[in-house]
Symmetry: C4
């Protein structure tokens, strides 16, 4: 029963996250009159606002991972069990896809339509590596010491990372897969998904390894890591 | 006496909320030089800022519902009594209308003048359903576990929802009724009010039902839910 | 000695507040390329950011009033003594004037030069009444129950009030006097100062009277009100 | 071992800070279509977001100074030992330089290329003096009383100071040195580094001396000052 609730929480949380990411991208681009910086400002602030509440709401139920890279890293450090891990990741990917559909419908677009937004090359992959490294550093650094501020630190980080990486910081394999299904502001060409996901997983691994030494007291972090 | 104070709190809080929503919409549009994204950025951030303080101030007095959908959902779950509920809703609607008048007067406009802003159709109604679903999810998910952060999570959510829904997330029947009385940036045509309110109530019901299962420990939430 | 420290805190805090308000107004206008909404966005966010830290830093020393309307209201409710009140107000006004000079110098402008920005008329006065009413409502509503969040609620309120009032919410007599001494974005014509200050004091009185009934437990608020 | 961890934390934290500052400056300028205010809005919000999480993550390990002026001031007040101080400062400068390289690479630019951005003159130096004075005032004022909010107050301060100083508030010698190595939005001409650093150190000293009297209870602040 607890796992069923956790799976629903991961599904619903990731769905609402994608609705926020994709929806605010569409709205931002429609209203910004061609100024991409203003569209990205709206997109990043809306994503941050959504993360604050989604993590606060779902952390007590499932840990509010909302991200396969987080669930995998947590499993590696002995938090999430290997039996629960595929349930979490499946719920996240399914939720992400449903969330993209919700955003598309809210703006009168087709349920799904493949993105043509090219996001590829070394600079983008390095950006995704660094973005996910930073995200996991925050999770391992904050989650044990000060779990109460994790909704705010993760949100603040993502707002920043939308701007300081050239890839606008997807930093989440479920988000990356789902964003290939909308040909709007926040989309990514299906061909480019694999490169992003690989870079994200490497970044998550690197941060998890480093923080096992740097902040060892967080070794016992349970899957209630947020 | 306690109910009288609560009614005044709901009246005053909703009035100040509407003054903030409508006033910042007018200011944003006047200054933005035709760039609607910049106007909505100002409008959303100002609404969020107002919510942080209004919820913090009025929660100890009335629970800071400021929203008939919240009061109804709370009554359904056994928080607010059915005797108090109409007092709350009446105070919210009256306050919302007075708040719109205050905004109109601050900007040298008529006390009331009906909006011509068309907001209708399936995509908009689905947006309002989802916006209110999310709002109630946050309230049921956070209010019991971490009441101290509710002012911040609700504000963060509304800033995000202004952007990720095509309706700019009214998510509040009192707000919807009152915003029909100003023909400015944040207005809604009187004919479109009923559709929005219906979608909002459905969204609130859906979230309340789901969270009764997903986060059952919040079942005893009193009307001090914020 | 405690009063000397409090006076220095009020002086320094109000000086830094005015440096932030006036300086960010100048920077915003210089960079915004004629789009006043973008300039006001920068101005309001910078003012909010400054308030968060100034209240957090100076509250333990002086209560971080930084505003004669707050000191007067606190004295009326028995917090600040009538002997300390003129010391506070004197320090605030002196600090505000020095802060404007600092901003002018940082941007290579004359130490002082009178503003030509007309801010007058009923709509503006009503705006200042409401802005200061709201500010004092937050102080009386939050300061006793949850002093730890006052830096954030006051900052959030001022960001919002810059946008939802037609006067951009001065809400502070010391700030109003000092802003007459800079002919830049945030200035006010010296002739218009008296009207603003009168409206502010009326708003502060109205909120103080209402909250004596609405939230009576805050009656004993000491001058450590933030 | 503890010092090794602290050095890695200062290195990594300052590297990520510079990646955020420089990267978001490049992104902001590329997307803003020539409107410098929008670029600076993105740059300031991204820097603030990064500071929130970096201070929260690294404070338990090293105090999260990320700034030679902070380490020196802390040593002067008996926090950081004089043996640790050069280790901290070395790690900060090395980290800052690596962070600039990371930002340059993320955006497909050369690893290092000297800035041509002139930042000089009395108004700029006074800005840096005041910016660093304010930063240290926040650290001495908040770090003892309320360490839990330091990530938020420092971030709020820096967002504000980007706007209210004419120098956009470097306020950090390691940041200043490193930003000379990128000819992008946030760069500074190598010739202008010394003047900025001198003004910053004077500002830090002035605030440290004043707060030794104004808030003497913070005299025992350890190097866990954040």
């Amino acid at each position: 029963m607890r796992l069923a609730r956790a799976a629903v929480a991961e599904f619903l949380g990731t769905a609402l996250l994608l609705a926020a990411v994709v929806g605010s991208g569409i709205m931002g681009e429609r209203l910004a009159g061609g100024n991409t910086a203003i569209a990205l400002l709206a997109n990043s602030l809306a994503t941050g606002g959504a993360l604050v509440c989604l993590i606060a709401v779902f952390a007590p139920i499932s840990g509010a991972h909302l991200n396969p890279a987080v669930s995998l890293a947590d499993a590696l450090r002995g938090g999430l069990s290997w039996r629960e891990t595929p349930v979490y990741i499946g719920a996240q990917i399914a939720g992400a896809i449903v969330g993209v559909a919700a955003a598309n419908v809210m703006f009168g677009l087709p349920l799904f339509f493949a993105s043509h937004h090219v996001r590829s090359g070394g600079a983008q992959w390095f950006s995704e590596f660094l973005a996910t490294f930073g995200l996991l550093a925050i999770i391992w650094g904050c989650a044990r010491h000060r779990p109460a501020i994790v909704p705010f630190t993760v949100a603040a980080y993502i707002v920043a990372a939308y701007w300081f990486t050239s890839s606008t910081s997807f930093a989440n394999p479920a988000v990356t897969i789902a964003r290939s299904l909308t040909d709007t502001f926040s989309g990514i060409r299906p061909d480019d998904v694999a490169g992003f996901v690989a870079a994200q997983l490497l970044g998550a691994l690197a941060a998890t390894a480093l923080f096992a030494w740097l902040a060892p007291q967080s070794g016992e972090a349970s899957h209630d890591l947020a």
